[in-house]
């Protein structure tokens, strides 16, 4: 009874609300693997969400809109790449500036769209797989973008373990000087990591306006970008753990919404605190495990040009 009416729908909702976080976490992980810290995730998601929404609104094509979201994320991340990789700006401050700018841009340009709806992605039962008991209900009655997000972690793993480009990006994140001495181009590789990461983060933003809601409202990102930054640490820079983390947060967000809908006596402002409290808790737990070593060694440090 409780199982079918509450827990399984909750877990399905967890997957859905965890999906934008998953995209963003993998995007940030990609960026950090190349040695660049991008704290602009929140801003990138906001801009990408708007770009996706506007595209869908104008063209009526959700797929085009999804790509537009990714592209907007890439374009916006390129600002961070330019400031940090080319101009050697402080990565922390540049990321913050990017967040401020992105939230501003999305609010500013989104004004005419507030409250409007646009075509997006709707859940459908995945052929065959959706009939698996329990798992099918949780994972395979979702929208297309969720299904896509299932395969990205595998691609991610494959990229770093089985392709030379992945090895080069990781080497740049660990020790740019060694990569350069081996004849690689660390600057180009870092650009690649930041831009690809920005694209993935942008897809996460697009999910918010195309599938999570089909409406445009301000503040759609709602701290998810920051949660993604925290989840990269929690995941020890591994895609598998990112999936667990993202669904955990999706679960808490879904749970909190459900409780509100059911009309509890707990004030909504306290319930809304849950994901943010959990973020701190998760950081405490990962620090407690003490796995600092997994962070790319050159994370956050810029490559000084050698004249």
């Amino acid at each position: 009874m409780l199982m079918w009416e509450f827990i399984i729908p909750l877990m399905a909702a967890a997957v859905q609300s965890g999906t934008p976080i998953l995209y963003a976490t993998l995007g940030e992980m990609m960026t950090e693997k190349g040695g660049v810290l991008n704290l602009g995730v929140e801003g990138i998601m906001a801009v990408a969400a708007l770009a996706a929404f506007v595209t869908s609104f104008a063209t009526g094509s959700p797929w085009l809109a999804f790509l537009a979201g990714g592209t907007a994320g890439l374009a916006f991340a390129s600002l961070h790449a330019f400031v940090c990789i080319t101009c050697l700006g402080n990565q922390v401050v540049s990321g913050l500036a990017l967040t401020i700018l992105g939230l501003g841009v999305s609010t500013f340009l989104g004004v005419p769209y507030v409250g409007l709806a646009a075509p997006g992605f709707d859940p459908f039962a995945f052929p065959l797989l959706s009939s698996i008991p329990v798992l099918g209900d949780i994972f395979f009655r979702q929208d297309m973008l969720v299904y896509i997000s299932f395969v990205i972690p595998f691609f991610f793993w494959f990229f770093f373990r089985r392709t030379s480009l992945g090895l080069h990006v990781a080497a740049t994140g660990e020790m740019p000087a060694a990569a350069a001495a081996a004849g690689l181009k660390p600057v180009a590789l870092r650009y690649f990591a930041v831009l690809t990461g920005g694209f993935l983060i942008g897809l996460g933003g697009a999910y918010l306006s195309l599938a999570y809601t089909h409406l445009w409202t301000n503040g759609l990102s709602g701290g998810r970008g920051w949660i993604a930054v925290a989840l990269v640490i929690f995941a020890f820079w591994r895609p598998g753990r990112a999936v667990i983390g993202a669904y955990l947060f999706g679960g808490v967000m879904a749970f909190q919404l459900r409780l509100q809908a059911m009309g509890t006596h707990i004030p909504s402002s306290l319930l809304l605190m849950l994901p943010y409290l959990l973020t701190i808790l998760v950081l405490i737990l990962s620090a407690w495990r003490g796995r600092r070593i997994d962070a790319p060694a050159a994370l956050g440090t810029n490559i000084e040009p050698e004249a």
Binding site: R162, A171, M175, A178, A181, L184, E306, A307
Partner: protein, 511 residues
């Protein structure tokens, strides 16, 4: 120290008549800001031979070779490989031209495996397979008789093994011109011998080796030809067989007569300033050590055998086990809880710019860094007096540029070390921990540091941690050799056979 420790397998090979150089540098110049690192250098490299580039730290050897390896671009001049002019945009171009370099700080990614490091940038395709990569590197290692575990992570390897990985990288890239930048700095004498043998073998296969060093005896033992670099210029090229004495070579390297010896008069020994009693932990095992006022005790060993841990524990950076470390007669905890800014312990660390000084602050603030308590009046700092005293120290120690508002990063290595020394001696220490105090310094600065340390014995005991055996033998009364966190031997420098006993101990060989 006078006898050569390395034995050449054959005599120096004479250069055949009319041999064509594989690499030719013509009038190559490189500037960094106002500093001319290389000034119109012309140099030939022949195949099948070992060329030593001899020079002091800062003479421009590494810069010159970094240009040949594609890391820097020359400001003017040309480089030719096989008679054709080349311009390297990056290391990749140099690698393609057959030039490979082993840098002083290894260019290896610690978290990756040996195989991944060797094949980095040479994977031979977009898709890779870790197992196949390991097999490929293993085959290469076997072919050259180099024993290394190809699936091990670099962080688990010793310095000697890491060097093998660097050599494997060059071999895999089929480099014909191999550049080694101070390769012996991290090796035991035994490992050095093995490296030299490997270098000779490689030249027999027609490869050229360029060996950068400032150690005279190594250069004499190894090279077929020697080029001396001084202040960015080629001072001269010579045939190692024609060298009459080490002193002659040294004076050409430095540009003036140098005393490679300092005059060390014994000083009366007083109270112990450091006692380490059976310390186990922090990666150290059963370490016992005593330093008394009036003496210098050197700790030597290959880098990474526990010297860093020992220094950190003694200087209060990390906490040693209880009741193992006593400083000036007090237990560690009590000493650091009550320590005063002066007449106490001072530490001259290896990392001058990142640890001993604040890179973006001026000399006054850097003086205050460890002496601030001496300039404090209540909660306020007497900056005026600090400025006056800084000026005085700058004069006394001849620190350049002689402005109190110069920032730490603007000082050269030698001047920065003088500034650190000036500050720490200003504290009138009773116990000095000096870590690689002359690394990277020119001869005159080295002599000054040595003299100051010897003078300091009048009031203090000195713990000298150094990788330079010559320095240890010059300055110390006793030498402790460290190996894998243990002190394997404590040798008095007054005994003649000490010099020859250090090498085996550094490699962990007890008699």
């Amino acid at each position: 120290m006078s006898e050569l420790r390395y034995v050449r397998p054959a005599r120096v090979r004479p250069l055949p008549e009319g041999a064509v150089p594989v690499v030719r540098l013509k009038e190559v110049t490189k500037r960094f800001g106002k500093v001319v690192a290389n000034n119109a250098i012309t140099l030939d490299i022949h195949s099948g031979r070992i060329k030593a580039l001899l020079g002091e730290n800062g003479a421009g050897k590494s810069t010159l070779m970094s240009m040949l390896a594609g890391r820097y671009k020359p400001d003017s001049g040309t480089m030719e490989v096989d008679g054709r002019p080349v311009r390297f945009e990056s290391s990749k171009d140099a690698i393609a031209a057959g030039i490979g370099m082993v840098y002083q700080n290894f260019m290896l990614v610690d978290s990756m495996t040996v195989a991944e490091n060797v094949l980095l940038g040479q994977e031979g395709g977009f898709f890779i397979n870790p197992g196949e990569m390991e097999a490929r590197v293993d085959a290469l290692a076997t072919e050259y008789g180099l024993a290394v575990d190809v699936s091990a992570r670099i962080s688990d390897l010793s310095m000697g093994e890491r060097q093998l990985v660097e050599i494997l990288k060059l071999l895999y890239r089929k480099s014909r011109i191999l550049i080694f930048d101070e390769p012996t700095a991290v090796l035991t004498p035994e490992e050095t011998n093995r490296l030299f043998e490997a270098l000779w073998r490689m030249t027999e296969q027609g490869k050229s080796v360029i060996f950068i060093s400032h150690k005279l005896e190594e250069v004499i033992a190894l090279a077929d030809e020697i080029a001396i670099l001084r202040r960015g210029r080629i001072e001269g090229e010579l045939d190692p067989t024609a060298i009459e004495s080490k002193a002659e070579l040294a004076s050409r390297m430095v540009g003036k007569e140098v005393l490679l010896e300092v005059d060390r008069q014994p000083v009366e020994v007083g109270e112990p300033v450091l006692e380490i009693k059976g310390m186990t932990g922090l990666g150290l095992t059963d370490v016992n050590l005593e330093v008394r006022q009036g003496e210098i005790v050197a700790v030597v060993g290959v880098a990474g055998n526990g010297q860093k841990e020992l220094v950190e524990a003694v200087t209060g950076l990390v906490k040693p086990p209880v009741d193992t470390v006593f400083i000036m007669g007090q237990p560690w905890r009590k000493f650091f809880a009550e320590s005063t800014w002066n007449r106490s312990m001072c530490y001259i660390p290896e990392d001058r710019l990142g640890l001993a000084t604040m890179r973006n602050q001026n000399l006054v603030d850097n003086l205050l860094l460890t002496t601030r308590k001496g300039f404090a009046r209540g909660m306020w700092l007497d900056k005026r007096r600090a400025e006056r005293d800084t000026e005085e120290l700058i004069r006394k120690y001849d620190i350049r540029p002689g402005r109190i508002h110069a920032l730490a990063w603007q000082l050269s290595g030698g001047n920065l070390q003088k500034a650190v020394l000036a500050r720490e001696l200003y504290r009138q220490p009773r116990f000095i921990v000096a870590e690689q105090p002359t690394q990277g310094l020119d001869v005159s600065a080295t002599e000054e540091v040595w003299r100051r340390l010897l003078d300091a014995r009048a009031m203090a005991g000195v713990l000298l941690v150094t990788g330079d055996l010559g320095e240890a033998l010059q300055l110390a009364d006793r030498i402790a050799v460290m190996y894998r966190g243990r002190i394997l031997g404590m040798l008095p420098t007054s005994e003649a056979e000490t010099a020859s006993r250090i090498g085996p101990l550094m490699a962990g060989v007890l008699d």
